[in-house]
Amino acid sequence: MIRSPKTETMSRTDLESFQLEQLKKTVSYVFERVPFYKNALKKNGVVPEDIKTLKDLARLPFTSKLDFRDNYPLGLTCVPRDEIVRVHSSSGTTGKPVIAPYTQKDVDVWAELIARSLACAGMTREDVLQNAYGYGLFTGGLGLHYGAERLGATVVPASTGNTKRQLMLLQDLGTTAISCTPSYALIMHETAIEMGIDIKKTALRLGILGAEPWSENMRIDIENKLGITALGIYGLTEIVGPGVAVECPHKTGMHIWEDNFLVEIIDPATGIQLPYGQEGELVITTINKEAQPILRFRTKDLTSLNIETCGCGRTMVRMSRITGRSDDMIRVRGVSVFPSQIESVLLTVEGIEPQYMIVVDRQNAFSSDELEVWVEVSEGIFSDEMTKMSALQTTLQRELDSVLGIKARIKLVEPKKLARTEGKAKRVVDRSELPKT
């Protein structure tokens, strides 16, 4: 269903002239209010009056994750504190997290975008949405919650975890749609089998899945196992949270709500814009935000854009499934982790050398073994006592959990086991790429 037909099926010409006006407003808005943007624009030799066409977007400075950190907590904010009605934050594994402030208008716009997204995925007010995204600082929980309420659906704010209770609620309340990470959808299936429940026989028909990368094969797997349609939703804390883009049942890419977000694909190495259809890094500019509009945020997510009108009739551009990262970030159950962060935790243990490898299982990333960190046993950490070696394993596991909030299994391996490469070592390996031993 199309919630806002006039907007969602607008002609490209009308959309682009609307976008241009919004972009002009946004640039002068941040220029006046945020010293960081004023300096960055000046450095690029741009003043707000220079924005004449959408092509001028390319002259604007990028915003990176580091800029958020440098301006922590509210250095990029445009409004006085009393206009901020809510803040969310990124998982912020080490150092400072990204703070996302919202005015009342931002909260309303966001809820509307998610209501639009859920409608796009095929939800109506008749649906019962079990929202199994984490509630709290994470944007997923409250974001989906307010959006689904705005749509008029029944929300079950189940949050994450306690899978058995989730399955009980799912059966008893006649849940028709679930929002969670793709990996959690599979955990629910596993647990249902253990409990002797056939999810296919429940009313569940739709999954709104996001917050971690997943493959087309994983979609097929989830759809078959749960007997549902599984659609992707995309968003980032830096931009607004979920509700930036969503798939419709045609499953031909995620519709980006371009009346709120300007998107570009760039070559991550050069920063130069790439044409539609070509894969590169997604860059997003918000053009309808009050508290913290962001110019040209480098998402590091690799994808491509499709400008053709979708079979559903929407004219807004679609982004393909995220195929990877232009940096080496990995996501474990929605928590973003960089290998360098894992490395810094490992190196707090005396004697450990920075020879390690992170093994992920992209097809089946859901058990407690989902992340393995292989650490080479050097002379500095080798003991002839098993208790000491086991304690080392436990210490590393505990440190990764307490510092990064990730459950990883530490596997101690022989030296030289891990591939040495010239220059940058390949730190993240998919299980399927491992040599058979």
């Binding site: 080798f382 002839d384 098993m386 086991s390 022989e414 030289k416 086991k417």
Partner: protein, 131 residues
């Protein structure tokens, strides 16, 4: 007395013990005793050799992580209760815990030899040398 033990870290996989033994074989090092402590992922292979220095060097050359420790060792008579009376009882009475140990027949007839690590090797050595 003290005896040199060479330990090696080995993944718990087929072929690893073979690689260790082959390295020693190439260096013509003779093994007098071996003890392995293992879990699902890896093992610690502890060895007493006729030439521990040469053995350790050979293992290192083959890419293994190894270490040499000066271990406590004692002769025990090859008779009933030999281990109990000569080693275990005196240590227990002195409140010393045995971290790990292994024993093997000595070259001297009628004698076995124990290699052990304890919670207090110094005190244990004093106790055992009295026997």
């Amino acid at each position: 007395m003290k005896i040199k033990q060479v330990s090696v870290f080995a993944e718990n996989q087929e072929g690893r013990l073979q690689a260790i033994l082959q390295a020693l074989d190439t260096a013509s090092v003779n093994l007098r005793a071996v003890s392995v402590s293992e879990n699902a992922d890896f093992g610690i292979v502890r060895m007493i050799m006729d030439d521990p220095e040469k053995g350790a060097k050979a293992l290192k050359k083959s890419g293994f992580t190894e270490r040499t420790d000066n271990m406590l060792s004692a002769e025990i008579p090859d008779i009933p209760s030999g281990l109990l009376n000569t080693v275990v009882l005196p240590l227990a009475e002195a409140g010393i815990n045995i971290v790990y140990f292994y024993a093997f027949m000595d070259q001297k007839p009628g004698t076995a030899r124990i290699v052990l690590k304890t919670s207090d090797d110094e005190k244990a050595e004093r106790l055992l040398s009295k026997k």
